[in-house]
């Protein structure tokens, strides 16, 4: 944070803000980790726990909102201080969203556990692992204001998107092969989509880190490899007429 403010209590308030964000980040990481474990083990009890725990993140976000608004009103911050405070406000809402997606994955887990396993589940777990690492790294980058690490997270979103697109294709294919897979595959597809969105939020946080450190948003277009919106898988029925 550089040199200290003439008004010491301002520094304390900024430190407190950092601590709140660190707590939120830690909690979101744990939620995501648990959600992925529950998914692998088809553990509905744990899934229910995750859903209940999400409330803690919501409360923390509300606290950050309150604290930042009070700081803006009281300190009328400028330059780096302004970026720190506005950045924290935005990052808190992104972490809260990541928590929401982890919760959504847990909710789907309850349904998925009722159905026979789909082969793609392993790939979805791999997707989750990628997202988890991005979240962990971007939170580290945020707390240490590490521009290089933030850039590396932002670059990795491409990989996540590509894997998501391939999962999308795979699941569509299973559904076409056997309509009895549709229910499980649909739930799994939503899980994959939630994880892909977590990656987007990690990327958003990486961009905020860029803004905090340099004062500017990244100039280049963000990498994008999610092609699922344009993906069509055509059915090739066995013994087809054409």
């Amino acid at each position: 944070m550089g040199s200290e403010h003439t008004v010491k209590s301002f520094d304390e308030e900024l430190r407190r803000l950092d601590n709140m964000l660190a707590e939120m980040g830690g909690l979101a990481e744990v939620q995501l980790q648990s959600a992925l474990e529950a998914l692998i083990r088809r553990d509905t009890e744990k899934a229910a726990e995750i859903v209940a725990n999400d409330r803690r993140l919501d409360h923390l976000e509300a606290e950050v909102d309150q604290h930042t608004i009070a700081m803006l009103a009281r300190r009328q911050p400028m330059a780096k201080d302004l970026r720190e405070i506005v950045g924290a406000l935005k990052v808190a809402s992104m972490i809260e969203r990541i928590g929401d997606y982890a919760k959504n994955v847990a909710k789907r887990t309850a349904a998925i556990a009722e159905m026979p396993p789909v082969p793609s589940a392993q790939t979805v777990v791999r997707l989750g692992g990628l997202a988890q690492q991005m979240v962990k790294d971007v939170l580290d980058a945020y707390l240490s204001r590490d521009l290089d690490q933030a850039k590396s997270v932002r670059a990795r979103d491409r990989e996540l998107d590509a894997l998501y697109t391939s999962i999308f294709r795979e699941l569509l294919t299973y559904m076409m092969e056997d309509p009895r897979n549709i229910s499980a595959c649909t739930h799994l597809l939503f899980v994959a989509k939630h994880i892909e969105r977590i990656g987007d939020h990690a990327t958003n946080i990486a961009e905020i880190v860029h803004f905090l450190v340099t004062g500017e948003m990244p100039a280049d277009e963000r990498p994008r490899q999610d092609e699922s919106e344009m993906t069509i898988v055509t059915a090739h029925t066995t013994g087809g007429e054409n």
Partner: protein, 269 residues
Amino acid sequence: MIAMQATTGRATDAAASPVPAFMTRDVCVFYGQKQALTNVSLDIHRNQVTSLIGPSGCGKSTYLRCLNRMNDIIDGCRVTGSILLDGQDIYAGSMDVVHLRARVGMVFQKPNPFPKSIFENVAYGPRIHGIAKDKTELEAIVHNSLEKAGLLAEVKDRMDQPGTGLSGGQQQRLCIARAIAVQPEVILMDEPCSALDPIATARIEELIDELREHFAIVIVTHSMQQAARVSQRTGFFHLGILVETGDTEQIFTNPRDKRTQDYITGRFG
């Protein structure tokens, strides 16, 4: 996705407006042996508010006073470098200082109306500069100036009463009316709101924004929030040096120099 860009468009001095009202280059000011200002180069553009900020004794007021040669009256004060108003060197021997101060008006920290009527306060300048042909025209100028200064409605029924009887905020607006009555190109303001309450301050700030349509305005202020609110360009002075100048938005969200950063965020330098 995130509309948080700190600065939109980095206008340079050259890009802001084709011909600046003031072009100052390498301005140095000495009070006897002591150097108060070192190589300040800055353009003041028309229809823009330029704010000068910095800690006490940084040279911002000294610089401001160079622009209408107010420093001339200080013994042992020497100004070097070039200060061009519309391309004309204001320190040239041929420059009529009285005329210069009509073209470059000034408003001070403490409202200083003449001990005369409200009408006379505003009429004085146009009269001595021979701007008005006759009484009717003079009255029109006074009216117009008070109108532009946002004071007319409040004083139109008591024009013959002393200007010193007005409230602080009204007195300051009277001084602004007095400055604009002689149709200046540039208005210099040295801490124009520091003696005013928040409501009077807000009215002056609103006025500054309106006046920008007709004049170039330079304002020295200790209130960073005020500089951020009223100006389009900001210059930060420190120890007699112009440390950084830029679009106001950039200076207050993303200053490039660490000294600017430390000053505006209230840190030890």
